[in-house]
Assembly symmetry: C2
Homo-oligomer: 322 residues x 2
């Protein structure tokens, strides 16, 4: 089985949103802006900047409009240390998606300058009801309005599907349920659909079966793999997805975040782990690993702990050993 | 690519040796005996019990004769909590390999009752010289004497090859170098050859290339994958090895140990991660995950920290959440 890999993949850095949203304490706007600036400095070209959701329900995302506006008003330049790694990247080429739950959220995001917005559906009915308080079908109706408004405004649309491998309420989720929601999001006009293993119970076999079902509905170039490392399977799941043709992967610097259904468990797969994996496979990411580890240390320190990723620990250990 | 998995795999628990050997502080004999007893209680059937090496060089393994003798004199019964998971396991069926560097070590191991001994070679010349103070060829001559004595005594022989993907001194290691050493160990009479990614720099592609070379010399049923999780690649590497027909994998409870070449980095892949992976793939291990996590917590607490594995963190989080 000799696999021919793509020359490059794109990492969507979700630390400032999916990561921080699942950290116990909210960070102020200035710290979130600084995190995004550092991530762009390390070479990341897609950095999820926030969520236009209820600050009562998700206090961690309060002030997302200010975060986005500040980042857009003063685009972070590539840092000196990583200029080589991000050569050719100009401010305008960096994308800052934000989550919007509905038309109201979309309008606030548009006012803040959003160029890409993301809607979030689930592949599990119970999760959909508990997470966004409506059925899957109702959420798709709601997103249709967002999609129309986004198209009219020339804003790109990303769609999330959560619980693609398992649901905290329903257990295993059928691949055809995921495929159905992915197809519906594509039909709504989503440019990219991110498949989220929200509770990290997927393994390379179940992720593969899920992807095979989704790929019958949506081509690989429209898909992103979004895997949580709750049970340490995320890197293997990314590798399996790469074998099926996916070239976009979501990850969070320092393995930020956690699992609301298992507080204390690991969060998103660490961006460092993916940069290391792709580097070893000879696939370009444009990300400077050393600058990324610096960023993982910076944000983890800000949160009062050490970076959760294996790669950050190893890189730090090597630095100290020298 | 539909893969047909084996019904069962064997996990060789190396925590009490490879794990503890790379922890900064030595544990007393009684604690090591207790660890082994708990591991057997959780259902592990191959538990590396110690190393008959210089206690000056490796103080963590001092007293290995006493550890082995105590475990053999009073074989741990399966615990009540896990009796179901280990049904059919009788004391005699559990194997306790110990490391021996030379004939003198072998004789001490034999006197302590060893039924399986392991010799350790390297695929990198520089590593061989720095680790065991002789060339690869010289080490094989030394092991020939051990192999002869083991055969004469009816003792099983395991062979380790370290640096199968990378060497801390030489960088990348050629697959044919690994294949050559593996073939030599097989020719000496090793019943099983464990391929060690000592510094964890392997990825699914490089591990696959290495295995393809080794499999031209040694059949899969004689091989074990021994991967360190320094850069978070170990689970993906195990999965890739499974695809190539390997059915024996080394792991350490709680992700014990570390990397002497990067102090602070992660150690062996955690046994919990592999039990979770194989469980998800429908492959039996005979190991009770809850009892294993209890053991990970027990030994990690003994070492003054939390378990390093994602699975232990998630299982503990779920327990607390209930």
């Amino acid at each position: 089985m000799t696999t021919s890999w793509p020359a490059a993949v794109r990492i969507v850095e979700v630390g400032p949103r999916d990561g921080l949203q699942n950290e116990p304490f909210p960070l102020p706007v200035a710290a979130r802006v600084e995190l995004i600036r550092r991530l762009v400095g390390a070479g990341l070209k897609s950095v999820e900047a926030g969520a236009f959701v209820s600050p009562k329900r998700v206090p961690q995302m309060d002030g997302s409009a200010a975060v986005l506006a500040r980042v857009l008003a003063d685009p972070p330049p590539p840092t000196g240390a990583t200029a080589g790694a991000v050569a050719g990247v100009v401010a305008g080429a960096v994308d800052y998606p934000v989550l919007v739950p509905n038309l109201q959220g979309f309008e606030a995001a548009l006012a803040a300058g959003a160029q890409t917005v993301a809607v979030f559906a689930a592949a599990s009915e119970t999760f959909s009801r508990r997470n966004i308080n409506c059925s899957i079908a109702e959420s798709l109706v709601r997103f249709r309005a967002v999609a129309g408004a986004a198209r009219a405004a020339g804003v790109k649309l990303r769609g999330y599907v959560s619980c693609v491998a398992g649901c905290p309420y329903e257990g295993a989720v059928a691949p055809r349920a995921v495929a159905g929601v992915a197809a519906a999001l594509r039909a709504l006009g989503c440019d990219e659909i991110s498949l989220g293993d929200t509770i990290g119970t997927g393994n390379p076999d179940s992720i593969r079966r899920m992807l095979e079902a989704v790929l019958r509905e949506v081509p690989a170039e429209r898909l992103a793999g979004h895997y949580h490392d709750t049970y340490g399977m995320a890197v293997a799941n990314v590798y399996a997805s790469l074998e099926l043709g996916l070239t976009v992967f979501d990850a969070a610097v320092g393995g930020l975040g956690g699992c609301p259904y298992a507080p204390g468990a690991a969060g998103n797969v660490a961006t460092e782990e993916l940069v290391w994996l792709f580097g070893g496979l000879g696939i370009a990411t444009g990300v400077d690993l050393e600058a990324l580890v610096d960023t993982a240390v910076w944000i983890s320190t800000r949160l009062g702990r050490a970076p959760a990723s294996r790669v950050a620990r190893a890189v730090l250990a090597r630095r100290q050993h020298r």
